[in-house]
């Protein structure tokens, strides 16, 4: 059984101390905007009901955080490992510079989802967004996998300037390439069966977490966006 922590009346630091004090799984109830839940955490499981504040799971290094509501900005900032599951929408810059671990969002994400996402050796971060993404999706992306499924919400599956400055990793969107305008240094083509096979485990996990049907998700065209070069700015300078 998870140890229950009543968040009401606690500030972020106080809540952080209580979470830290319990080695086993904890359930935070009545959360009211407290920031930094699980920041720098190494292991164990946190379940959050109520609304958590910004920077949930920042520098997360293991374990799992599950939120039964919407989350705010900077979820999983610079996360290195572990899993974050959001049963709702997330705010801006979800997964900023994440280098490892997985983030599953049932709903939509705000601006700059996956900005600076990177990968390193066996660390390949994954972010699955069930709904839509705001502008600058995957900005400066240097590694990792971003999946946007467009299962909820309306309008384009991602806002303006997807993959601006991208120089590594890949973005898969459940749409046709011509539905979005990509920058010059990115190639966006219809995803092949192999492309989808490569991310199938993450889609299965998404379906398992949120009770979705994989065949419905796969029954639509996907676009794969990858950068042309890992060195996009090479030709720009002259030594002086």
């Amino acid at each position: 059984m998870a140890y229950k922590i009543e968040a009401q009346g606690l500030d972020a630091a106080g809540l952080g101390r209580q979470i830290q004090a319990h080695p086993g799984p904890v359930e935070v109830v009545g959360c009211l905007g407290q920031r930094f839940i699980g920041a720098g955490m190494q292991r164990k499981k946190i379940r959050v009901t109520g609304i958590p504040g910004n920077a949930l799971g920042a520098y997360l290094n293991g374990g799992e955080i599950e939120v039964c509501a919407n989350a705010q900005d900077a979820v999983g900032d610079t996360m290195n490992d572990g899993t974050i599951v959001i049963h709702g929408d997330v705010g801006d810059t979800v997964g900023y510079a994440m280098r490892g671990g997985e983030i599953y969002v049932e709903g939509s994400a705000g601006y700059r989802a996956g900005v600076h996402m990177k990968e390193y050796q066996d660390k390949v971060p994954v972010m699955v967004i069930g709904g839509r993404a705001g502008s600058f999706l995957g900005e400066y992306q240097a590694g990792g996998v971003i999946l946007v499924l467009g299962l909820t919400g309306s309008g384009p599956i991602a806002g303006n300037f997807p993959c601006a400055g991208m120089h590594g990793g890949k973005v898969l969107l459940r749409c046709r390439p011509e539905e979005l305008l990509f920058p010059g240094q990115v190639t966006a083509l219809p995803a092949s069966a192999q492309d989808l096979d490569a991310v199938r485990p993450y889609l299965e996990e998404f379906c398992r977490r949120f009770g979705k049907d994989l065949s419905v998700i796969l029954n639509a065209p996907f676009t794969l966006a990858v950068p042309d070069s890992r060195n996009p700015y090479r030709q720009m300078y002259v030594a002086n």
Binding site: A12, A13, G16, Q20, R35, F36, A39, G40, Q42, N54, A55, A58, Y59, N61, D73, A74, D77, T78, N80, D92, T93, Y96, A97, R99, R112, V115, H116, K118, E119, Y120, K123, F136, E139, Y140, A142, G143, G165, H167, G168, R230, N231, P232, Y233, R234, Q235, M236, Y237, V238, A239, N240
Partner: protein
Amino acid sequence: MGQWEVYPEFEVVRSSARCTKCLGCVAQCANGVHQYDGAQLTCDSAKCVDCHRCVAMCPARALKIVKADCALRENSNWDSQTIKEIFKQAQSGGVLLSSMGTPKPYPVYWDKLLLNASQVTNPSIDPLREPMETRVCLGKKPGRPQRGPDGRFTCELPPQLKLAMPMLFSAMSYGSVSYNAHEALARAAEELGVYYNTGEGGLHEDFYAYSPNTIVQVASGRFGVHEGYLNAGAAIEIKMGQGAKPGIGGHLPGTKVGADISRTRMIPEGSDAISPAPHHDIYSIEDLRQLVYSLKQSTHHKKPIIVKVAAVHNIAAIASGIARSGADIIAIDGFRGGTGAAPTRIRDNVGIPIELALAAVDQRLRDEGIRNQVGIIAGGSIRSSADVAKAIALGADAVYIATAALLALGCHLCRTCQTGMCNWGIATQRPELVARLDPKEGAKRLVNLMTAWNHEIMEMLGGMGINSIEALRGNRLMLRGIGLTAKELEILGVAHAGE
């Protein structure tokens, strides 16, 4: 020469009377200036960057580098540098990229400030005989004495950085400088009881041993940043800006990202490491506060957080915002500061001198009654112990030193770090060049330099009749301006010499 080439800037002069043809110069110059065809030693002066490596290493003292006297027809509007820059851009279409601090003749206010000394009353103190304190604690200080329920003073302070002398080595990333340069800085920081700064390139696994003397940096690209890295540092520095290139981010080209750098930055080999100027999650002081507190929270409120900004217009208001963001220390970097690579136009035209910025910030924080809430580190071309003393009198708690530290390691300020061919083993990743810098010897030279400066600071303090560095901080009565306008004196908050 070809139609679009300009005459080389330097000429390599070899005394054939002295030269023994040992070929040491051929081996020493990574730029390939010296060549030997089996019979004759020749040199291609066009490739020379005037780094003085061959000069220093020539056992016969047969070499010298002179400024070429083949001159373009200059005038005071179109000097030869400006003309050559136009030629380069017309040829390449590229953005001009330079290294180290700006060479332009902007005013250096340190040289227009004079220190005081006691005469007759308040006698001066001899640091060789009498105790003299140069220790500094950097961090938040309580606004008033706190007492516990038993009426006794509570002496618990927010986390502080304790420095044996008011100087730290400022951020230089592993990538912009070599492994051996980092090792020399780390060793010296440990021995001196001060700190060195990882810069934004992560912390090499070998250097976790020096973590009590390490400041770890977090920049927009978050290279090598993870929970272990954050907890390894004695303090965490958020890099918002750099004096040499305000508004411009860091960019380590993929060619410099070899195996070791890739491990430290935690990115694949050969991938560009891009740290754009903005943190894309910070658009306000409230957002900065969020990053400050997320770092505090994930390190259990045990580490002071430094926010580093470039000295720009309105720096006083910016610093006030930072002080209110919850940061423990503000580092202000003036526009004469060095860099491994910066667009020339930015380096030479953006930002303001550290002296004016520092004086304005210290005054503003005092006026607002929040000076005690932050420590101030000033950087951006601190060249001597006199600069240190003047910076402290203008309001700094301590100073950041980088270019002077590199000079101690052998740098000859050839300002071509961006090529990655540093013949002194500092701004390079080529193993054969890196091996030229002995980290132990380098550390010794850094310790020598800092120890000498610290002693000079004590002598200056003693002369002023002050026996602790704390008593000099913000003590502008100890400064007088020389040859400055009324407005400059007003901003610096000092009287003119003779007043």
